[in-house]
Amino acid sequence: MTAATTTPTATPSSPPKRPALRHRLAERGVDRTLLLVLPGALALLALFCYPFLYGLQLSFQPTHGGVLGDYQKFFSDPFSRKSIWATFSLAIPASLINVGASIPISYRMRRDFRGKRIMLAVLVVPITLGTVLTAEGILEFFGPAGWFNRTLHLLGLAASPMKLTMNYTGVLLSLIISGFPFAYLLTHSYLSGIHPSLEKAAATLGAGWWQRFRHITLPLLLPGLLTTFSLTFVMAFAVFPSALMVGDPDGHTHVISIEAYEAALERFDYAQGCADAMIMTVLMLAVIGALAAARSRMYRGATGGKG
């Protein structure tokens, strides 16, 4: 990793050579403490980087065609190409809904009130439900004879049951159920990082609640919102089991992870599967990178009371 343990190169100028090098390294933060990252970093190199590079290399060795054969195949087959659209058309609305709903709710929930902690705890529950239970629950609850449709019927809101499962809507619902609490809790913690005295200061300067939100809270929250969006997006982008279970995996919810999975584990074409995985990673990182770039152009400093 670093040259922490390499033998010191001769430094003719200063008489005590060894301490000088140790000192020079220590100055830059390199000392024996750094050895502590080594095991973890090596584990990730071996279990994450190496396989990833191996997959990359494999993706350039297609069974048919040239080096880029599998990439060409992905983009020339309309069915697989459409999986990009399917993925984005799920991930972006899901993230927008999750983050969008989080803002007003966390804005209201900032003050302390009895039961707040319980409320927050309740919101954590969906994160632990697991995809299968969520999917089963969605199938049953939102299904044609589920409580949701029965209630609509009872209230006279829908003549025939709405089709909310085994299609795009089903997957979107599952992304919201698992993603909204996550987005909310993140937004909540970012928002509570903004010192209340800032809004108070704005009030004493004549700003009404909308102006306070518009000019003070929102700009300070925005970087946090982008991070939240990124992380919700990452979760939604990787959607896999629920796209199979409550979606329409051969149609509108044929997302890119299913494409990759089928290539590798149903068609036994690892090269293609790896190529798909690489395409997936690049697309995801491109979005995250763009968001990070946008974020870096915003104010990102402290949001405490002090400047």
Binding site: M1, G29, V30, T33, L36, V37, P39, G40, A41, L44, F48, F52, G55, L58, A101, P104, I105, Y107, R108, R111, F113, R114, G115, R117, L120, A121, V124, I127, T128, L129, G130, T131, L133, E136, G137, I138, F141, A145, G146, F148, R150, I177, F180, L185, W209, V234, F237, F240, P241, M245, S257, Y261, A264, L265, G273, C274, A277, M280, T281, L285
Partner: protein, 291 residues
């Protein structure tokens, strides 16, 4: 709920404050409405599964037509839940232990030192959380096949370490940063050598953090579908994979016994969650300081 927020301090309020609250009402109503709607649906989703798992049959009606618990014994037998839970426990505990052993020291060094290459190292620790598990799981599974680890418990544990180590690192970082380095310096000046500083000072102070990180990794590994699915074999499946296979594999299966298994799954998760919430704030379950 909105009543209680307002009530506490402002019980004896002036007219003005009252007017101001009135002006905020529509927004407040919508907000609480959305939240209530969400929670109602969430409750519905969970409750239907729970009720169904105890229902002898449930057709076109609000509630099941009869009650039974035999789906649980059926599921237990049919899906060999005893064995599966054992494997799940073994996998998660191993992952927790190993990722703590590897992650905590790394987190310590990253939190305490600034050094050349730290950004790259940070990236190494962030990427496994960002990259979709399917994307690196497929090549990882391929590699594990090559080294004869695919399908084994070891393989599953190794795969699950990939997101867990970074997770430990990022959960631990704020806990470590909270500890003033001068406390370590103080211990040294008092005559403590490195092992003593680690054992008597740092370890007790980091214990809450390690518990939090450990439980969070436990919860996540318990629920990690993709990686386990890609790398497990018949003897190394965890509950979530068994559950998925039960839904997806061929054959006629009563949804009730699948739901029973899902309830077992969620019940175990809920217990873990309750334990976790004793040590961490709910927002800490998702938020960390490192981004």
């Amino acid at each position: 709920m909105s009543a209680s927020t307002a009530a506490v301090a402002d019980a004896v309020d002036t007219a003005a404050a009252g007017r101001r609250r009135l002006a905020l009402r529509p927004g407040t109503w919508v907000t609480w409405g959305v939240l209530t709607f969400f929670l109602l649906n969430l409750t519905g989703v969970i409750a239907t599964v729970l009720l169904n798992s105890f229902g002898s049959r449930w057709f076109d009606s609000w509630l099941p037509g009869g009650w039974t618990s035999h789906w649980y014994s059926d599921a237990w037998k049919e899906f060999s839940l005893g064995r599966v839970l054992g494997v799940t426990l073994e996998v998660t505990l191993l992952v927790v232990a190993i990722s703590l052993i590897l992650g905590v020291p790394a987190a310590y060094a990253l939190a305490r030192r600034d050094f050349p290459g730290k950004r790259a190292l940070n990236l190494l620790f962030v990427l496994p959380i960002l990259v979709p598990p399917i994307a690196y799981g497929i090549p990882l599974a391929t590699m594990l096949y090559k080294v004869h680890l695919a399908g084994t418990l070891t393989g599953v544990v190794l795969a699950n370490l990939v997101p867990s180590i970074p997770f430990v690192v990022f959960t631990m970082t704020p806990f470590i940063e909270q500890i003033d380095p001068r406390i370590e310096a103080a211990a040294r000046v008092c005559g403590a050598k490195t092992p003593t500083v680690l054992g008597r000072i740092l370890a007790p102070l980091l214990l809450p953090g390690m518990l939090a990180a450990g439980i969070l990794v436990l919860v996540r590994t318990f629920g990690m579908f993709e990686l386990t699915f890609l790398t497990s074999g018949p003897t190394s499946q965890t509950l979530v994979v068994t559950l998925f296979s039960a839904v997806n594999s061929a054959g006629i299966r009563s949804t009730q016994s699948i739901d029973a298994m899902a309830v077992v799954y969620t019940g175990s998760m809920a217990v873990l969650l309750l334990i976790a919430l004793r040590f961490v704030n709910p927002t800490q379950l998702v938020a960390r300081s490192a981004d």
